[in-house]
Symmetry: C3
Subunit: 139 residues, 3 copies
Amino acid sequence: MLFHTGKTKVAFSALIETGGAHGPFNKDKTLAFNKVFTNIGDAYNSCSGVFTAPVTGVYHFSFFYHAGGEHKARLTLFKNSEMIVKSSDHQTGSDGADNGGNAAVLQLQQGDKVYVSMPANHHVWAAENHTSFSGFQVC
Amino acid sequence: MLFHTGKTKVAFSALIETGGAHGPFNKDKTLAFNKVFTNIGDAYNSCSGVFTAPVTGVYHFSFFYHAGGEHKARLTLFKNSEMIVKSSDHQTGSDGADNGGNAAVLQLQQGDKVYVSMPANHHVWAAENHTSFSGFQVC
Amino acid sequence: MLFHTGKTKVAFSALIETGGAHGPFNKDKTLAFNKVFTNIGDAYNSCSGVFTAPVTGVYHFSFFYHAGGEHKARLTLFKNSEMIVKSSDHQTGSDGADNGGNAAVLQLQQGDKVYVSMPANHHVWAAENHTSFSGFQVC
């Protein structure tokens, strides 16, 4: 069976699984989502956490996280050095945990890099399939 | 007008609407998102809550929920019996409500089943268009 | 290079950036996501916040927001005058901030309008890349 004749297939989906809280660290950190479910076209690098567009096109990206209240939480989706979308949560003693996420459709040139970064002094919960990063080529 | 000649179109989107809190129950439960907006290809079963891949391909799934703080909340996206992505919230007396969700891109074989399950003793808010499950074929 | 010969490309992604809290207002308001990242096919109007389907087809939409606890938060995705999916948060003195979002796949006729609306007396955080609206044609 033929799908999309002539189209490059690019799609990935991965979790960050380090066994518990990830961070806080003393500097900004690109999250390496290391448990990969899908990596069609092999454009996502699970060691660096960076997706590199293999062809010029339009791509959809999303990320979701869980985080306890003991530290601030914030993840930002970057295209090269440009901040695209972000999700944050405050430190709080009264609410045990929160969730966040965001998504964007981006027109990428071949070689553009997309990744999720966490600022210094923030954290996320990197266990039990909670914190994910996915993308695919729309057209 | 012809789009994607030769491609099977598969896409669905549904809400769970039971009139209020759904759960907690005394065992794990697949959520039957019963208010269907879209079901192109008829691959999503609104009675069982299960999506069955009609053709081998790459699919995107997402779910979103709202939940009060009176009980724990947790939804997990499964592919057959494999846990894929999850979103959780703690029980709390101090924060009235929270939201969560997650997404994944999955390579499915024809007949693979994808669904959202809630563990025993958890709950979500199943009213007013808050808790949803969507999917579509990427390629 | 040719992708999807014969397919209209439609995809957009935008943030609402007004410099801080947006609302509460004394009536319902369609959010004008004014900082546009992507607008292929020019179907999203950043002045009105309204997406108008340029061709009949199947489309995916998502929105995400951040909101402080000082007022209620609620965003609803509408198709014409039909409420599709929603995400809400309560007013609270104890939890500084929360996040929400939702998504749907919709079959649209040419000219159908899709937008995100906030009810009277609610608010969202419209700063620092937190509150977004995206969509693209699936098929």
